[in-house]
């Protein structure tokens, strides 16, 4: 478990994080959401130790990371895997070399053992052997994200950090990456912390969500609770998304018992499937079977 207590970060006069308190639940997908400039990337960098906070505590399993010695920090970092927004793959190394790199650095296993592990994680992220000898510049953005994810999990990390993993990806690839992150979180029992402003990701994989607004934690809850939130700032944020327009319709249905006229029949059926609810009272969840 990671606890964040009274975390404050300022750059000169500008306060970017204002006394943030949050708990990242173990074995779950914890999402930090918020609009651009809300402080979510700074918050993540403070949690992983890439940026020292001005004040506050980041507690990994009861130990304050901020006051740890260099050796203790190194030990924690070996338990962290991180997927960067731009993938951050080493340009001069092939896909295989990128993934084997952490094993070379931190294990004394034989090359054959390391290679087997690399194959295992690359298989896990659905990359076949054709890609092994390619350089990052020779593969697509989605593949780069998958390689970066493979590199992040190759040492079986306890904590997996993902900084906007869907940025720059098409919606279909985004769904693939989201599903991979969710599956890996469950399989490896990692505590996953993910920055995103993609509401599809929030609804698909957000077990625990922290909403940031102008450097403050504005709301915290699950993906089931988020569409019923009364927080106006959160609603403003989520209703800007097309997906959450559907959720808004869902709320109207829940509150008034009526389906808004503008909701198309197909969308209504999709909404029923999404939320596993019979909204139109036809006794069928989703589209009627022909």
């Amino acid at each position: 478990m990671i606890e964040i207590k009274n975390l404050k970060k300022s750059f000169g006069e500008k306060v970017v994080l204002k006394e943030v308190n949050a708990v990242m639940e173990p074995g779950k997908c914890n999402l930090i959401i918020g609009s651009s400039g809300s402080g979510k990337t700074v918050l993540m960098k403070c949690i992983v130790g890439l940026m020292p906070p001005t004040r506050g505590e980041v507690i990994y399993n009861g130990h304050n990371y901020i006051t740890m010695t260099l050796e203790e920090k190194k030990a924690i970092r070996k338990e962290i895997g991180m997927l960067f927004q731009g993938s951050a793959l080493f340009d001069s190394q092939t896909v295989e070399q990128n993934v084997i790199f952490p094993l070379d650095m931190f294990t004394t296993d034989k090359y054959s053992v390391k290679k087997a592990r690399v194959k295992e994680v690359l298989d896990r992220v659905n990359l076949n052997e054709d890609a092994y000898r390619k350089f990052p510049a020779e593969i697509s953005g989605g593949m780069q994200k998958r390689v970066a994810l493979a590199r992040a999990i190759v040492l079986n990390p306890k904590y997996l950090f993902c900084d906007e993993p869907n940025s720059g990806l098409d919606p279909q690839t985004s769904i693939v990456i989201d599903k991979l992150i969710k599956e890996i979180t469950q399989e490896y029992n990692t505590t996953t912390i993910m920055n995103t402003h993609d509401m599809n990701s929030v609804m698909e994989i957000g077990d625990h969500i922290v909403y940031m607004h102008q450097g403050e934690k504005e709301w915290e809850g699950t993906n089931k609770e988020i569409i019923y939130s009364d927080n106006q700032k959160l609603n403003d944020f989520i209703f800007a998304s097309n997906f959450l327009q559907d959720a808004k319709n869902m709320r109207t249905i829940q509150e008034t018992g009526e389906i808004p006229k503008e909701v198309h029949e197909d969308v209504r059926d999709a909404l029923e499937e999404k939320f596993n609810t019979d909204m139109d009272g036809d006794g069928i969840i989703g589209a009627p079977k022909e």
């Binding site: 992983v48 970092r77 962290i80 991180m82 960067f84 731009g86 951050a88 080493f90 340009d91 790199f101």
Partner: protein, 220 residues
């Protein structure tokens, strides 16, 4: 110490610069011979003096200083842009997240490889510079090779080589550490990488000339 990185950098800096150092050294020596002969018109000055002057200028100044100025451009810009790109594309952050000391992994091998290989390149530059002078003297009919060889052995002062190598160690440190500083601390994007690379080369050259003057004043 990361030996693999160190060996890679030795290859990049040392072997990678062999070609350019060889070419400029031969031509510097050749030009020295031609220009020295052009200025020594008095019949009472023996032709062996040309070889002595070429030898001493190549060893004392041309091989260490000119070679290192060229290396500041070749090696310095490469180091600064490589580290700058790694910084901007979060590759350095990725290494830090893994628990790797990025300064020890990225910077130290570059500086140590430079300090080891650049003096070796300077020794090569001295030899090739003198060889270039001998070749040019012979080809242009300025000085007979046997007279040139006699001149090389006359009044040879071993301290000059020691001085040149001392300079080359100091220059090697400057050529590698200054670009490492500028590259490692880049903030921004592609434009800033280019700017830091240019700044690294300019500052390296100025510091190199300053160090050249200070070392000459102190050691000669």
């Amino acid at each position: 110490m990361y030996w693999k990185q160190f060996m890679l950098q030795c290859n990049d800096i040392g072997v990678g610069s062999l070609g350019i150092i060889s070419i400029i050294s031969v031509f510097i020596g050749a030009v020295s011979t031609v220009q020295t002969a052009y200025q020594l018109v008095s019949p009472i000055i023996p032709k062996t003096t040309i070889a002595q002057i070429v030898r001493d200028t190549v060893i004392l100044e041309f091989a260490p200083t000119l070679s290192c100025i060229v290396l500041a451009g070749v090696v310095g810009s490469k180091i600064a842009s490589e580290l700058g790109n790694m910084r901007v594309s979060e590759q350095i952050d990725a290494l830090e997240i893994m628990g790797i000391n990025t300064k020890a992994y990225l910077i130290l091998p570059k500086i140590l490889a430079g300090v080891l290989t650049i003096p070796l390149l300077i020794i090569l530059a001295m030899v090739l510079g003198i060889f270039g002078g001998r070749l040019a003297g012979s080809m242009a009919g300025i000085i007979d090779p046997s007279i040139f060889d006699n001149g090389l052995l006359m009044g040879f002062n071993g301290y000059n080589v020691f001085f040149a190598l001392t300079k080359s160690f100091a220059f090697a440190f400057l050529i590698t550490s200054i670009p490492c500083f500028y590259g490692y601390n880049v903030k921004g994007g592609a434009l800033e990488i280019g700017q830091s690379s240019t700044r690294a080369v300019v500052v390296s050259c100025i510091m190199l000339l300053l160090a050249d003057y200070i070392l000459s004043a102190l050691l000669l």
